[in-house]
């Protein structure tokens, strides 16, 4: 849906594509029995002609090339099923559109998965100091919407601050605190260590704070992703080298994937993204950091535009304490493989059998 669309043409087009679903319900008076075959053919023919007229009107609009490009983009198929030539066409269309929109030369890469690569990630929870530079670096790299109105600023990484519990003598007989519950005595209810209920909006002067630990969470790039299973149009899928990606042009915005993700990794573009021209990163990948549009879901994809070309993701590079590690799980010499071999590694919510490729470790 773009502003250039001729509103008169749209209803015809929708009706044509959904006539299978709506023909029966649109006119209850007609019932399921057509009046006569002739009438039906007449009606169908009228429908077809008006649709073509609508299409023609759209094509013949001003900005003919732009309208044609928008039309083609609107009706392109699912990226994964396209032939290499169609993929190249889709990317070229996007390059033209983005370059015009952002006033600079934008490239939309389509590098496929390299054989022999399974990307993996490891994060040292002992080291994280909660500085949130990974969050901001990700935003610098990946063209998220960044406006001021609530819902316009999207960040893919959430850093959870967990307070260390304090066990003190005077809480010994406090027992189970206010609210319901059977009093069991003791102060062991103190939230200590990792709890689900942490804080996200902390703003101290300096981190790490003595009384807190931090843990960043983003897409786990699961091997058995619940989001992929529930998607009704298969727009989100696991690529051969590991990351779970989204074809933004195919997403219908039903948000089932967001409900299914146990790690709250996915975000919805509630409105047209706010992305200033200077801040836009012009080096993009079709399945990666290219600017999204209203109504589609997005998430971390391990900086595909960089990792497919061999470079570390932005979050890995910026971490000032070196807590983030990335590499090829199939390469025994990569830092991630060495971490899995040597360090104490765990996954979040492992009981859900999602088999994430994002590991947490401590040393």
């Amino acid at each position: 849906m773009t502003p250039n669309d001729n509103p008169a043409a749209e209803p015809d087009q929708e009706r044509q594509s959904e006539c299978q679903m709506q023909a029966a319900s649109a006119d209850p008076a007609a019932g399921s029995l057509k009046t006569s075959r002739r009438d039906f053919l007449k009606g169908g023919g009228m429908l077809g002609v008006s649709s073509l007229m609508g299409a023609g009107a759209l094509m013949a609009q001003s900005d003919n090339a732009q309208a044609a490009a928008e039309w083609a983009e609107h009706f392109q198929g699912n990226y994964r099923l396209m032939s290499p030539q169609e993929k190249a066409e889709a990317r070229a269309r996007l390059e033209r559109r983005y370059s015009a929109e952002y006033g600079k030369k934008v490239t939309v890469d389509g590098t496929e998965a390299q054989p022999g690569v399974l990307m993996g990630y490891a994060l040292n929870v002992r080291k994280c100091i909660g500085c949130r530079r990974c969050v901001k670096a990700c935003v610098e790299e990946n063209n998220q919407s960044r406006g001021e109105k609530p819902g316009e600023r999207i960040e893919w990484i959430q850093v959870l601050r967990m307070e260390r519990g304090e066990f003190s003598k005077d809480k010994m007989n406090q027992g189970y605190p206010e609210g319901l519950g059977i009093q069991v005595g003791g102060n062991a209810y103190t939230p200590a260590g990792q709890v689900l209920e942490g804080q996200y909006h902390y703003e101290p002067k300096a981190v790490p704070e003595k009384e807190a630990t931090y843990m960043p969470i983003a897409c786990m790039q699961c091997e058995k992703p619940p989001c992929v299973k529930v998607c009704p149009v298969r727009t989100t899928y696991r690529e051969a080298d590991g990351p779970v990606v989204i074809d933004y042009n195919w997403c219908i915005g039903c948000r089932m994937c967001m409900s299914a993700c146990p790690y709250w990794a996915r975000r919805i573009n509630l409105t047209n993204p706010v992305l200033p021209n200077e801040a836009m990163n012009p080096v993009t990948h079709y399945l990666g950091n290219r600017p999204r549009m209203r109504g589609v879901v997005e998430k971390c994809h391990w900086c595909l535009q960089r990792t497919r070309k061999g470079r570390y993701p932005a979050c890995v590079e910026v971490c000032p304490v070196g807590a983030r590690k990335f590499g090829n799980l199939l390469d025994p010499e990569s830092e991630v493989s060495l971490i899995l071999a040597r360090k104490n590694v765990f996954r979040l919510k492992a009981e859900l059998n999602t088999f994430p490729k994002f590991f947490y470790f401590y040393d």
Binding site: N124, I129, C131, R132, R133, V135, K136, A137, E140, E141, P150, G151, E152, R153, E155, E163, P177, E178, G179, L180, Y189, P191, E197, Q199, Y200, H201, Y202, E203, P204, K205, A206, V207, P208, K210, P282, T307, G310, R311, Y312, A314, V316, E317, V318, C319, P320, V321, G322, K325, F326, G327, N328, D331, E333, S334, E335, L338, I339, R342, K343, D363
Partner: protein
């Protein structure tokens, strides 16, 4: 005469102010810790800067070219699987450019060749002014002193136990003597920081020890940690429906 000189002074002053206003705003941000490696933001190509800086904390958030300004790392033991030229570091030798000054400013062109007699360095105000952290060395809990790490005569070099000088761009050869666990993990990429290519044989810029850790003050006072505190970046946006985040401070499982 006096009137003219005063006018000239005022004129020169104004000119200086105006010219500085016209001068390009130089944005500098620090890569790991303030004082270790600072970078001036510039465009590598039109629209593609070398770094992107955080407006809140002044830290580098993003590198346009990870290998900008780097030189190959020297030979490091057991890093043989890395193809030559694929391990680079940012040199810090340039920061020691003050050393020639030492010779002319204080030692008449000749830096003293011998160790101080009692291994307890005398407090010299000039040197303390240059490096305040050295005053009360917070490293080793009183078991090490300056010349355990710094070369006796070539003061722009570090030293190993054989008395041979080590480049200050390869502190890992020195630090790894005592911190072997960390050295092993650093060499394998598990400890510390590397940017560049993720392949195990790829080209990476390695951050050396002293780029993150201040060797003259590792304990950071009562914090007793190896890494200083940093200013955090801004929290996420409050979603619609929330006035503030105060509820996060209300503790406990009810």
């Amino acid at each position: 005469m006096k009137k003219l000189s005063i006018t000239a002074l005022i004129f020169a002053f104004c000119l200086g102010m105006v010219s500085s206003a016209f001068a390009e705003e130089e944005v500098t941000c620090f890569e790991s810790r303030k004082g270790a490696s600072e970078v001036v933001k510039r465009d590598l190509q039109p629209g593609w800067p070398n770094v992107k800086c955080s407006p809140k904390t002044g830290a580098v958030l993003w590198w346009g070219d990870p290998f900008d300004g780097t030189v190959p790392m020297g030979d490091t033991p057991l890093l043989t699987h890395v193809p030559p030229g694929n391990a680079v570091v940012k040199p810090r030798s340039a920061k020691l450019a003050i050393l020639p000054l030492c010779g002319t400013a204080c030692h008449n062109g000749v830096i003293p060749p011998t160790l101080p007699k009692d291994k307890k360095p005398k407090a010299i105000p000039t040197m303390e002014g240059l490096l305040p952290d050295a005053k009360n060395l917070q490293h080793g809990r009183g078991r090490i002193w300056c010349l355990d790490c710094h070369h006796t005569t070539q003061r722009n070099k570090l030293v190993d136990n054989f008395g041979d000088p080590l480049s200050i761009d390869q502190p890992q050869l020195l630090c790894g003597k005592c911190h072997g666990d960390k050295m092993r993990d650093w060499r394998d990429g598990i400890h510390g920081k590397r940017i560049g290519e993720w392949a195990s044989t790829g080209k990476k810029r390695w951050f050396t020890c002293t780029e993150c850790h201040n060797p003259h003050n590792v304990q950071d006072g009562a914090r007793n940690r190896g890494f200083i505190q940093l200013e955090p970046e801004l929290p996420p946006q409050l979603p619609k429906g929330m006035k503030d985040a105060k509820h996060e401070l209300v503790h406990g499982v009810h």
